[in-house]
Amino acid sequence: MAMNMETKLRNFHQAKWDEPIIFELTSPGERGILIPEAEAKVVAESGSLETLVPAGIRRKKRPALPEMSQMHVLRHFMRLSQMNMGADFTVDVGQGTCTMKYSPKINERYANHPKLTELHPLQDESTVQGMLELTYNLEQYMKELSGLERFTFQPGGGSQAILAMTSICQAYFESKGEGHKRDEIITTIFSHPSDAAAAAVKGYKIITLYQGENGLPDLEALKAVVSDRTAALFITNPEDTGIYNPEIEAFVQTVHEVGGLCGYDQANLNGIIGITRAKEAGFDMSFFNLHKTFSAPHGCGGPAGGALGVSEELVRFLPKPLASFDGEKYYIDSDLKDSIGKVRNFMGVAPVILKAYGWIRAVGAEGLVEAARVAVLNNNYMLKHIREIRGADASFGDGYRIEQVRYSWQQLYEDTGITSEDVSIRMADFGMHLWSSHHPFIVPQPFTIEPTEAYSKAELDEYLAVLRQVSHEAYTNPKMLKNAPYNSCCHRVNNEPLDNPEKWAITWRSYQNKWVKEECVVEELA
């Protein structure tokens, strides 16, 4: 039996191994890998461990790592991988804001090639011309897409790029003698939480603009709070609601008028690549997520890449070093006198940089714009259909959206008692993801969908069919829903202990102490 092509629903069951925790698989004496021994002459000339490491610092108790032979280790982790739902397996439109698009395998071939994996970051320039050329060219594309002057790939992700933006802001005002005075950074409530949190790390006071009726931040609110204490505005646009702020230029002007800087969080770039840019809106800084719009895979949460671009005036503050070109050869430029230093070691995550580069070369200028357009088409297609699903609605009005939408199951909840979380969990029974929202939960019972350009109409229809099915189940069989999932890797998780300091176990040894030993004691007493 195959998937029902009419209803588009599958009789899915995820791999379920009931796999023990690795420590439970230990078999004393077994070896997973053997280490090359030091040659006899080396041992003779260097000495034994006792002479080489002072007694006081020598390890006394063996680390209690499991002992397993190689195939068993492999099998264990292979099974765990089967119990994970990567974008390669599912129609991954339900992880809104994450831009889960296709990570082309041709790029994987070269990201895993020894000519990249075996490079050391401190090698002589002459030996890494290929890597530098790749990085430099990627920078040129980023410049085109933003209109900004120079890019660094050092930040390991979007949030670290925000940290870098904040640091540049700080350095800039210090250089003008205004460091102490400018202590406020403004952001909006639907911008990514890191726009506030990363800026707060550097000691800034964070002013958040609340949203208006239409879900957009109010220009009047911004005007009411800018002053000579404003260091910067950090804003995501379109915000996670999927709504583009048409007044963005006015926002930037308002901040510039008081001498502040503007930083563009372009995590939500996918719907506007090549269609509208940071420069024309007036931004001084902007960053892109290489693992979102630019196709590098997410790796369960990294490694990733944040490409940060700045205007000419701010170039001197960029973290060092930068991959540069002198007309003949590529070189590593560490000579940025006013640099903020570093936010991360070395020059970025090379495999991620390669994957972004490979994707852009494959789709080209035309493809970048087409990707954006199709992402937006896909999103509005889903928007139309989701609005028709019983119990669901899009937040903030009837219009179109850009690349994602923040929806709400509030009506479903009121009618049936089924929450957004319940729906997400039931989606697992169909092999699908569905994500809710970043904090704060302004939209009640939220769910956020971002199709990207990577899925076909048929696949979008498949996802919609599952959403409809779950909505239908909520109205007809809520009790069943409340106890989902049934076809997944485990059953309903008991979250209570995770909140209780006496029960939470972040490691196996804590689990032994807090759960297992206690049970043994109870058994003994009984």
Partner: protein, 463 residues
């Protein structure tokens, strides 16, 4: 443009687009962009190359580009300084390439059960190595972990100054300084000729406003510190926290820092089954004991194990906690973000493969081989290894000052012989002109080391 179809964009087929537009009731895709003011619409040409439509073109292009690189497999490399050459077990590559993990992200502990469990195992395996109870899901790199541990100390002690040992990577120091600028004062603590903490200087600087002291063991120059307990006691007496950075691959033979009084232990899992990746294979860890005052301060996710509605089944989720006990706190607890989870998964496979015996053996081999290299290089006339008499792990500083050549010149000459010499410290570390940091691990055979020594010898003689 109207014929543009791409394998990565299924709905680039125009007939499908028309179908979809009809269903939506829109005239064209342009309708959706109406909200963007005309003025902000980019009308220029994007100076980005045309598409390489065929995959064969992309394949060739990337191959040709990368072929311009000369790697640590093409040459003999002794570079370390935060990115170490270690053998990557083939099964680590196998799991790193599992697309379920590679293309996974942030699903629920149901359909993404594997991710939660594997990262829980990573946390647990590291905890055994570190002999501690709480380890976080990996952060960007060890320097970020160190920076966060410093800010955690600030929040816990409510003090705004941090002491840092001078024997630290210049990169790490830059990162920490940037992270702390605007909120904390950074004061450096001197080191002795071996590169270990000067107890006298430390004592003098441990003032009431100090949140803690951060140092690494082994230090940046590879020297092993064995007075850790004494250092911790000094700090604790002043109400501060002992923050220690360590190298996980040394923990088979070196004591876990917690056992000499460290409160927050950080480091990087680079090298634990992860390729060098031009510096992209880094992932930081932060470890503490399971006390609320510490757990409360982690900015990153902590995965915990629990049960489910079915007896005997394991379940997983995020540990979160009640902060009612902390009415006063430093402004914000940093940020949660996408860091370096996949490397944590790979490190878990590595540690699972190595087991206690493997970790012991690799530590022993590294310490023997690096000592062998130290001895032989030091024996070359004009060349001196700093801190010869102090115990070292994996790395050591070679001083070329007496050779009449700069470290740069030596390295250039080594390169001509297809050897990557140590990291030139001349512009990066005070008092280290014409010194280079050499890294020797289990991947270097006696023959490799002898080749280095003989080449250096001939370069020095000719110069």
């Amino acid at each position: 443009m109207s014929n543009f179809v791409h394998p990565y964009i299924p709905n680039s087929v125009k007939s499908i687009q028309e179908e979809m537009l009809a269903e939506i009731g829109a005239n064209g895709i342009e309708d959706f962009y109406d909200i963007i003011p005309e003025k902000l619409r980019y009308k220029g040409e994007l100076n980005i190359p045309k598409p390489m439509f065929s995959e064969a073109e992309v394949d060739r292009h990337l191959r040709e580009l990368l072929s311009k690189n000369v790697t640590t497999q093409d040459c003999l490399s002794f570079l370390g300084a935060g990115c170490s050459p270690h053998h990557v077990p083939a099964i680590c590559d196998e799991i790193a390439g599992r697309s379920e993990f590679l293309t996974g992200y942030a699903g629920e502990p149901y359909e993404d059960y594997g991710r939660f469990m594997v990262l829980f195992e990573y946390q647990s395996l590291m905890a055994e190595l570190l002999d501690m109870e709480v380890v976080n899901v990996p952060t960007y790199d060890g320097s970020q972990a160190a920076s966060t541990s410093i800010r955690m100390a600030q929040r816990i002690t409510k003090r705004n100054e941090i002491l840092i040992s001078r024997n630290i990577s210049p990169f790490k120091l830059d990162i920490i300084k940037n992270y702390c600028r605007g909120t904390m004062k950074v004061t450096m603590v001197d080191v002795d000729d071996f590169g270990r903490t000067s107890m006298e200087d430390l004592k003098g600087k441990l003032q009431p406003n100090v949140a803690g002291y951060f140092y690494e063991n082994p230090g940046f120059t590879g020297v092993i510190e064995d007075r850790g307990q004494e250092i911790s006691d000094l700090i604790h007496d002043m109400g501060g926290l002992s923050l220690v950075g360590c190298d996980p691959i040394s923990l088979g033979i070196l004591e876990a820092p917690v056992n000499y009084g460290a409160d927050i232990v950080t480091g990087d899992v680079e090298g634990l089954g992860i390729h060098q990746n031009y510096g992209g294979g880094l992932a930081g860890f932060i470890a503490t004991m399971d006390q609320e005052k510490f757990v409360n301060e982690y900015p990153s996710r902590l995965f915990g194990i629990t049960n489910t509605s079915v007896e005997g089944e394991y379940g997983f989720g995020d540990v979160f906690y009640d902060r009612t006990s902390f009415g006063e706190r430093e402004h914000g607890k940093e940020f949660v973000a996408t860091h370096a989870a996949l490397w944590g998964i790979v490190a878990a496979v590595y540690l699972g493969s190595m087991g206690p015996a493997g970790m012991e053996e690799i530590g022993e081999v590294i310490v023997q081989k690096s000592r062998y290299a130290m001895n032989r290089l030091n024996a070359i006339e004009g060349v001196a290894v700093r801190g010869m008499d102090a115990p070292h792990f994996k790395e050591f500083v070679v001083d070329f000052g007496q050779t009449g050549q700069t470290a740069e010149q030596i390295n250039k000459a080594l390169l001509e012989q297809k050897i990557f010499g140590g990291f030139d410290l001349t512009n990066h570390h005070d008092g280290m002109e014409n010194c280079a940091l050499f890294c020797v691990t289990e991947v270097h055979t006696k023959q490799d080391i002898d080749q280095l020594v003989e080449t250096v010898q001939s370069i020095v003689r000719e110069g």
